[in-house]
């Protein structure tokens, strides 16, 4: 297992966009131990709950966010045989179609990378201190947490 070095930290909270291809390269470069690379990226969609969405604003709790995400990564590494992990989450004002989040995981075989990637996303959703404010035709609204997201995360402990 080769971890990303300090130059490429596992966690990045940033206002600027990221390049999906570059991130995949960083997961793969000098990493011949791992045959599987699973990535997830989340984007701003133009609709939610029947309303037209015009944009999103992302706020977070600096320091706590990084700590929480590091804990999620550590838990995933204990549970699955995975190699490199990268989480990018954007904050600030985002337009329709822009990337919000990236999770990349490598492993020797696909099962561990698929599972760990989904686990990281599920726990990021319910425990990392990020909040979305949506701009729709009706104005600005802070999004409410979804019960289905909580159930999804809880399902991992069954």
């Amino acid at each position: 297992m080769t971890s990303l070095n300090n130059k490429y930290p596992e966690i990045s909270i940033q206002t600027e966009d990221f390049d999906h291809g570059v991130e995949v390269n960083l997961l793969e470069n000098n990493n011949v131990e791992d045959g599987a690379v699973v990535t997830f990226s989340g984007r701003v969609r133009n609709n939610n709950l029947g309303l037209t969405v015009k944009g999103l604003f992302l706020e977070h709790y600096p320091d706590m966010t990084e700590k929480l995400l590091a804990e999620i990564i550590q838990t995933a590494k204990k549970r699955w045989d995975i190699g490199r992990v990268k989480i990018i989450h954007r904050i600030g004002q985002l337009a329709i179609g822009e990337q919000i989040v990236f999770v990349g995981v490598t492993s020797k075989h696909r099962q561990d990378a698929f599972a760990a990637n989904e686990f990281i996303m599920d726990f990021l959703k319910v425990s990392a201190p990020f909040w979305k404010k949506e701009l729709t035709e009706l104005g600005e609204t802070w999004l409410a947490a979804k019960a289905s997201d909580k159930e999804k995360a809880q399902a991992w402990s069954k």
Binding site: G42, L58, E59, Y61, D63, L124, S127, A128, W131, A145
Partner: protein, 82 residues
């Protein structure tokens, strides 16, 4: 002093990103909420919302968690990132 900070919808409802309370006025998270409500009557309603989450020094805690001088206590709504 205990540093108190608010995020997202709660910050907007309270009209404040944070404040400080005297460490003598609260020994638990629940007491911090009471002290904040006494400090500003308009805040009480929002701080008694059951869905509100709390972190002390970046760790999620329950309302009976102990607090002391120098702690950073954060209150915020359920998270919605990803």
């Amino acid at each position: 002093m205990i540093k108190v900070i608010f995020f997202a919808a709660l910050r907007e409802q309270l009209g404040s990103a944070g404040t400080e309370i005297n460490a003598d006025s609260a020994t638990t998270v629940a007491e911090v909420k009471v002290a904040l409500g006494e400090k500003n009557n308009n805040w009480q309603h929002y701080l008694t919302n059951n869905s509100l989450l709390c972190a002390v020094n970046h760790q999620m805690v329950n309302s009976d968690f102990s607090v002391k001088a120098g702690d950073e206590v954060a209150f915020f709504p359920p998270v919605t990132g990803g």
